[in-house]
Symmetry: C2
Subunit: 276 residues, 2 copies
Amino acid sequence: MKYKRLAVHTQTTRPLSLADAATAYADRGIAGISVWVEALESLGGISEHATVEAKRIVDDAGLKIPALVRGGFFCAGDATTRARRIDENRRLLETAAGLDAESLVLVVGALPGEPLDRQRGWVRDGIEAMIADAESCNVRIAIEPLHPMYAADKSCINRITDARAICELLDHRLLGVAIDVYHVWWDPDLSREIKLLGAAGRIFGLHVCDWRVPTRDLLTDRTLMGEGCIDVGRIRDEVEAAGFDGWHEVEIFSDDYWAIDQGEFLDQIVASYESL
Amino acid sequence: MKYKRLAVHTQTTRPLSLADAATAYADRGIAGISVWVEALESLGGISEHATVEAKRIVDDAGLKIPALVRGGFFCAGDATTRARRIDENRRLLETAAGLDAESLVLVVGALPGEPLDRQRGWVRDGIEAMIADAESCNVRIAIEPLHPMYAADKSCINRITDARAICELLDHRLLGVAIDVYHVWWDPDLSREIKLLGAAGRIFGLHVCDWRVPTRDLLTDRTLMGEGCIDVGRIRDEVEAAGFDGWHEVEIFSDDYWAIDQGEFLDQIVASYESL
């Protein structure tokens, strides 16, 4: 593959099936495919069957899987639901192992109106409960802090600082952080946090895209690197200077780009990546 | 006035003229009106004439003015434009003095694609250049950190932490921070920051509203206190425990509420305020 460190998230090309995505990525020399749970749905959802089938599709295309995306969602008002969510995460770790994915990415969840401190405690407890399973599966857990605009209902962990605090508290070689430029670019502590994470060997992923100006939708208005206001190249350089030598994963949710031909979109992704 | 510490921002009832807003607030026992620059436009914009006329309108209604809103917008690529912006802020300080407003609220601005560190330097320089004028006008400067979702194009100061750093660097009795729950509720450092600001006597304003779940628009989908996910009462209590005894300013931008009868909206604001 021409682009040995470039991966694309299946959700980036959401209109494509996993099989079509794998072929389209491979055709363009993109070496990696990060698989979303949503991409397994048409294969039967989280199950041994879907895992085997997805693995075969990805292997046939000659691709590697940086990450299974997304586990987490620990925040629920009652203990029974929280325990069930942890069980679901255990199945995702097994799925990631079956796919030979390096990491399981966690979006930790949020419950509107619940005190954030309490929610962050649930997240710590949930991740702690997964660690033995991560060991037996030999899959890394990558906590992805989400932008503060998602604090109400998607993630109560909104800065690298707070994801790092959980890593330091639980302190396990399989626990680290996925850095998505979209979520963290604004943070005045970003450079310091990248250094601290890197020094501890805890940068488990680098997700790239760009912040469109103006942003017209909170969820589906990301754009290609170079088309927004984030200095993606600088952040990538800082992450690599901190010791990260893993994948550059393109994760773009965009109504605009989902509406065009996905092969053309992938060509633009490759061009955008090359210009970084 | 029945509600001695309640104020409403004119932009909250944007469809009303300043005169209609003042009357409608006073009729409901709302003691304060924070005047937006936009509300002066129909009186001729920033000018001595508009200031005198607005002051007369507000005085006739028996209201006080916590703040003139908004100055700032320091971020521009060329030095000439930045100098002009500072001059505009000086005129706003004079306007605030003419209105007998306690503070001028600053939204500091942002320039897409420009390194945030450099922009934050422009903001420090701009505020520093205003301090002598704030003294001669005897008007307080209240830096309002905006939510990180506005970091691209509205404000490069996105946490109380960073507004406080500017206050400590420039260290003047007329320089402080306006805390808007909408912008800061998600911040894990919020309680600590409120204590630090309060101990230094630097809480110059408390803006209240709520974060709607889901939020459908980045700018105009705020809601009434109690209708979203922010524990506004807890934040208010923390701010007051830190020594703040000023206004509770209702600042809601909402396409939904702007579309209804503004008298009815004000009744709902008062009910929401009473339930806090």
